[in-house]
């Protein structure tokens, strides 16, 4: 085989990057081993500090290497070195700077790198703060880093076995055999990269993945503390750091998940912020178990109960994080998910399964050996205590996550089901309904518990004061729920219950914060987090229950959709509205008009200008007028069709959410209309689409910037007035002149009406003129639009912010002094 000397390649960065990949792997391995030796040396006390500092240096070296990998890859992407497969595949020259980082998480390797980076950073913090648990927690963290580093190793054992895939592969290596690589100067032909998926070109996508991955990564820390505690047989020291990290993780992961929702809401055409999509579920499930574990840990801290449950939940959480990676990265969801990554083959599947297997082995092994000696409280707990109901609440969260996990995992277990029952099981036909009908009960129970547990004390509660508070807040909440339910027409009984639960959560948590905790900020972490959660429930309920489509089709011909009745047929064809250019269409309270599209050379998107006017139906006074610019990538990267992103008008109490579902293909846009001649006398009228033109005679004193007079010219302008439904008339002055015996014309155009006029001939004897008129056919330019209203969606967003604030207030108060959460409140 002859080798080709390639010209113009930059091989240095790739080699450096691969070097960092190897060192990060080796350093993590070294760190894990030496920390493990430090744990071993604890018993004898000999050499412990040496081993430990070796572990530290190893981990720091690992962190530096990971940063090195990142920097090199960033350099490759930002310098557009398309000889590297990663840069070619995920970026392009036109990509704005702010999206360069998004290239990292479009690809598999980049996502693992991001994960590794966060682990490394968090690991360094743990290293400095875990004190007597450092050696054990860091052994675990470094071990996980070893596993993650193998994901980007890209080592080949023989032709078929590959361990990991490196981001520094050359394009010519990944596409061996492509004819272009037989040329030494192949780089001259690879001018641009494949580019970033247009859906990721959104500012949420620059911030959502790092936050989500930080959330995922941070679940490692409570897990590591669990393992460390079991390993050391020491069950008190780990509680506080694990709690702080669990709070941190809960806050960040929650933020990351909802940012994904915000991204979906702003740039996907799901028509919403949550679709129970498998990828969304995969991140929600670990969050639920994490929150459950956090609560049982609080119970343990205050009462010494629920320790086994806490261990189980944190371990479950971390294994689920890996499991969700397995679900979303291996393509196993292929048939069911919108944005599951296409599979990278069986290598990754087995690789992830091995890691999950190792984690499970570690967890089960430790639990089995320690189970009997775990501290337990013998006495029976009372029913009217905080720990009892907190435990129930955690259990409900766990059940909720189990339900979501089972349905999401259908593609995983359906082969088994097929083998047993012969049925090829598919996901539910309407996933929204499926999940909602079950999860609404979780929302109701958790919403009710979220405030009620705060009224109770740990260990022993005075029943009367609890009941008094329950009744007081319950009555207020009922009044609030009745008011909202009546106003918002919430008429399904399950959702009425959920409305009450959310109202109660809001009222009772505010009551608790003000009346019981006297609004002392440091003590308000739980109340604020629970208040935020209740607001999230309220926001979800109000925005989803009354979400409605306002773009009812009033133009379209009723199609026979094979439905029994006309009404059913109409419903089927009704949700998109067709807008011809400059033709106003009524859409519920609004009259909307498509005014044209705009595209710029800098932005690959096309923006569609749609004017909204809301007028008083009696007086026709304009109450409100605004313009929205939904946009779309049209025929991008050889696709046929459009990738729309929505535009949203925000009100305090609702959002109007619109997106373009179809447009006239701009490549097929041609001007089919022709000039038509009209012979007119002064005062005559010409009828046009939507209006008419009046010919008011001639102006022989032509002074017009478009016309430069010369001596000997004869120039005449026609005076035309255009009237149509759009209010005041406009003047048009097409010009006709004779220069050196030749006839010339200068057209006049009203672009906003698509109207062209030409004075083609004058007949002075009759004081008449031949006017030629062309109108662009509005049917040549149209968009199909969909518009939805989300009522009170802001309650949801504010609720999330409040909830996360609650998490961080709790962390702050935990770190600044003795915990408020476990202190028995003065009720």
């Amino acid at each position: 085989m002859s080798t080709v000397e390639y010209i113009g390649e930059h091989l240095g960065p790739g080699k450096l990057g691969q070097f960092f990949v190897i060192t990060s792997f080796v350093a993590a391995l070294f760190s894990a081993f030496t920390y493990w030796r430090a744990v071993q040396a604890e018993r004898t006390g000999i050499g412990e500090s040496t081993w430990r500092s070796m572990g530290r240096y190893g981990f720091i070296f690992h962190t530096v290497s990971v940063i090195g990998i990142f920097s090199v890859l960033y350099y490759i992407i930002s310098s557009h070195l398309f000889e590297y497969h990663y840069a070619w595949e995920h970026s392009s020259r036109a990509l704005p700077l702010k999206y360069l980082f998004s290239c990292f998480w479009e690809g598999q390797e980049g996502s693992f790198m991001l994960w590794t980076l966060w682990h490394a950073v968090l690991g360094c913090i743990v290293m400095g703060t875990a004190r007597r648990l450092e050696t054990r927690t860091m052994t675990i963290i470094a071990m996980v880093q070893v596993c993650l580093a193998t994901m980007i190793l890209g080592l080949y054992f023989g032709p078929h076995i590959r361990v990991g895939s490196t981001p520094f592969l050359l394009l010519r290596t990944t596409m061996q055999g492509a004819p272009v690589f037989s040329m030494p100067n192949y780089l001259d032909f690879i001018k641009d990269g494949n580019g970033l998926n247009v859906l990721l070109q959104n500012y949420w996508m620059t911030i959502h993945p790092p936050v989500l991955f930080l959330g995922f990564s941070s679940t490692l820390i409570p897990f590591a503390f669990c393992i460390a505690a079991l390993w050391k047989r020491e069950y008190t020291e780990w509680v506080k750091p694990a709690l702080v990290w669990a709070l941190f993780s809960g806050g960040i992961l929650g933020t990351g998940i909802i940012m994904g929702g915000a991204w979906a809401y702003e740039s996907l055409n799901f028509g919403g912020y949550w679709a129970w999509d498998p990828v969304e579920n995969a991140s929600l499930v670990p969050w639920l178990t994490l929150i459950a574990g956090m609560h049982t840990l609080l119970v343990y801290k205050a009462t010494k109960r629920s320790l086994p449950a806490t261990f189980l939940l944190f371990m479950f959480t971390y294994c689920l994080v890996w499991y969700s990676t397995f679900l979303t990265r291996t393509g196993i969801l292929g048939k069911t998910s919108v944005h599951a990554f296409t599979g990278d083959g069986t290598a990754l599947t087995y690789h992830l399964l091995i890691v999950i297997g190792l984690l499970l082995l570690l967890c089960i092994g430790l639990l089995v050996t320690r189970w009997k000696e775990l501290p337990r409280v013998k006495s029976e707990e009372e029913t009217l205590t905080r720990e009892f109901w907190m435990f129930i609440g955690s259990f409900i969260l766990l059940l909720s996550s189990v339900q979501i996990a089972i349905t999401t995992s259908i593609p995983v277990w359906s082969p088994l089901a097929k083998w047993i029952s012969g049925k090829d099981i598919a996901p539910p036909v309407s996933p929204l309904q499926h999940y909602n009908s079950i999860q609404v009960w979780v929302a109701i129970i958790v919403g009710l518990l979220s405030a009620t547990v705060l009224f109770m004390k740990f260990k022993h509660t005075d029943g009367r004061s609890v009941w008094r508070r329950l009744v007081t807040t319950g009555v207020i909440a009922l009044a609030l729920a009745l008011f909202i339910g009546y106003e918002q027409h919430i008429n399904a009984w399950q959702y009425c219950l959920m409305l009450f639960a959310a109202s109660y959560g809001i009222v009772a948590n505010i009551y608790y914060a003000i009346v019981i905790q006297k609004a002392k900020l440091k003590k308000l972490g739980p109340a604020i987090a629970h208040l935020g959660f209740a607001m999230v429930l309220m926001g979800i309920l109000l925005s989803s229950f009354n979400k409605h489509i306002i773009s009812q089709n009033t133009l379209g011909v009723l199609m026979d959709m094979g439905k029994g009745s006309d009404a059913a047929n109409a419903r089927e064809s009704a949700d998109n509205i067709m807008l011809f250019i400059n033709t106003p269409v009524a859409m519920q309270d609004y009259v909307i008009t498509y005014r044209g599209d705009s595209s710029s050379a800098k932005d690959p998107r096309i923006f569609y200008r749609v004017d909204y006017v809301r007028a008083d139906s009696a007086t026709h006074n304009v109450l409100e007028a605004f313009t929205m610019y939904p946009d779309a990538f049209v025929n991008v990267k050889g696709q046929v069709g459009i990738t729309p992103t929505p535009a949203t008008k925000h009100y305090w109490n609702k959002d109007i959410f619109t997106y373009v579902t179809s447009v006239m293909d701009p490549s097929k846009k041609t001007d089919t209309s022709k000039y038509e001649s009209h012979l007119v006398h002064k005062g005559d009228t010409i009828f046009i689409n939507n209006g008419y033109i009046v010919f008011n005679g001639f102006n022989t004193q032509v002074s017009d910037p478009r016309y430069k007079p010369q001596t000997g010219d004869i120039a005449v302008a026609a005076l035309l007035s255009v009237y149509d439904m759009k209010g005041p008339g406009q003047e048009m002055h097409p010009i006709y002149y004779i220069r050196s015996q030749y006839e010339n014309t200068i057209d006049d155009t009203l672009r906003n009406r698509g109207l062209y006029t030409r004075l083609s001939k004058i007949i002075p004897a009759q004081n008449a003129a031949e006017i030629q008129i062309k109108q662009t056919d509005p049917k040549d330019n149209y968009i199909v639009l969909k518009a939805l209203v989300f009522p009170f969606i802001n309650v949801l967003w504010i609720g999330v912010i409040v909830m996360v604030l609650g998490f961080f207030i709790s962390i702050w108060s935990l770190l600044s002094k003795k915990s408020i959460i476990t202190r028995r409140e003065t009720l």
Partner: protein, 131 residues
Amino acid sequence: MKKSHIVLLVLVAVAVCVIVSMFGDFSTYETFASASRQQGKVYHVIGTLEKDKGMSYNPHVDPNHFYFYAKDKSGNVDRVIFNGETPTDIEKSEQIVMKGYVQNGEFHCSQIQMKCPSKYKKDMIAEGKPS
């Protein structure tokens, strides 16, 4: 027995009931033929686009009506009506998963998910209007 254990047992029992009842909610993958046995019931059908038989979308007439022909796994070709606009890149799809029901020999579908040959692109999904 502790009270908490009783409550947990009750909860587990309820959960088991819920999970068992969930199975009734799950759909199955069918072919056009097996789906037509239960007219009007919604199933998932996996198939491929039959490009030669043509497709049509005419938003001037109805922006929510697109039809094409698809061949299911057993080789039967059926006309598919989708209540929405032409899904992006359907011509390039190598596999489509359609969610819908059979009525009068036609498959009415409300959701199409496409698997595209390019490894560099994610799968795409197109949502129609609920019928």
